[in-house]
């Protein structure tokens, strides 16, 4: 089941710069998209979401962009901070509110 893909398993960024995490999906029926952050030995923590009627949603340092025609979403973190170092999962879902998660991208923000 590869409906949601995060092709970059890891990403390193300097503190203060922009982090861009990418996610692709295959199912055009997905309506809602989420980003979660996960620290070791903890459960995923919700970051930001976007519904398919929008192409951008912003919350503080976090912005999610959705390109429906390309079935692609991205998470931008500006400016990146060392505390942002974690594994980031994108998730996609439809009307059932069951979410399919990607494999995650490990972000390391270098001080």
């Amino acid at each position: 089941d590869q409906q949601v893909k995060q092709n970059s398993p890891s990403l390193s960024v300097q503190e203060g710069r922009i982090s861009i995490l990418n996610c692709d999906y295959t199912n055009s029926m997905f309506d809602y998209f989420l980003w979660y952050k996960k620290y070791p030995a903890e459960g995923p923590t919700f970051l930001i979401s976007i519904s398919s009627i929008k192409d951008k949603n912003e919350d503080g340092r976090f912005t999610v962009f959705l390109n429906k025609s390309a079935k692609h979403l991205s998470l931008h973190i500006v400016p990146s901070q060392p505390g942002d170092s974690a594994v980031y999962f994108c998730a996609a879902g439809g009307g059932t509110y069951k979410y399919i998660f990607g494999t995650g991208t490990r972000l390391k923000v270098l001080a």
């Binding site: 979660y36 459960g43 995923p44 930001i48 998730a91 509110y97 069951k98 979410y99 998660f101 990607g102």
Partner: protein
């Protein structure tokens, strides 16, 4: 901030034994979920539960798995006869009818180790 609570945090069990993983969802939430993450792999959907019944389940959730909401607060996942490949982090999650963000709140997980 309200939390989803999972116990135990770590469970070690012999292959073939039954285990019950426990969760206390957020009190006013109506939808409940179990996900799991095998080490180094993605977070996988197992089952969703609403109105005292399973609303959806994945292929992983076979006859060895069951869920129950025995009272108004607990939500449990039972694995009847554990296999080595059941070793994973198991996450419980819950959401209310119209969540702020359409997503759900996860617990910290139970690490299940089958030996």
């Amino acid at each position: 901030e309200p939390e989803v609570t999972q116990t135990p945090s770590h469970q070690v069990t012999q292959m073939g034994q039954e285990v019950i993983l426990r969760c206390v969802p957020i009190s006013n939430h109506l939808y409940f979920y179990w996900y799991r993450q095998i080490l180094g792999q993605k977070v996988e959907f197992l089952v969703s539960f609403y109105n005292n019944e399973i609303s959806e389940k994945s292929e992983i959730f076979d006859d060895q798995f069951s869920v129950e909401r025995p009272d108004g607060s607990n939500f449990t996942l039972k694995i009847r006869s554990t296999k080595l490949e059941d070793s994973a982090m198991y996450f419980c999650a819950s959401r209310d009818r119209a969540g702020l963000h359409y997503g759900y709140t996860f617990g910290s997980g139970t690490r299940l180790t089958v030996v």
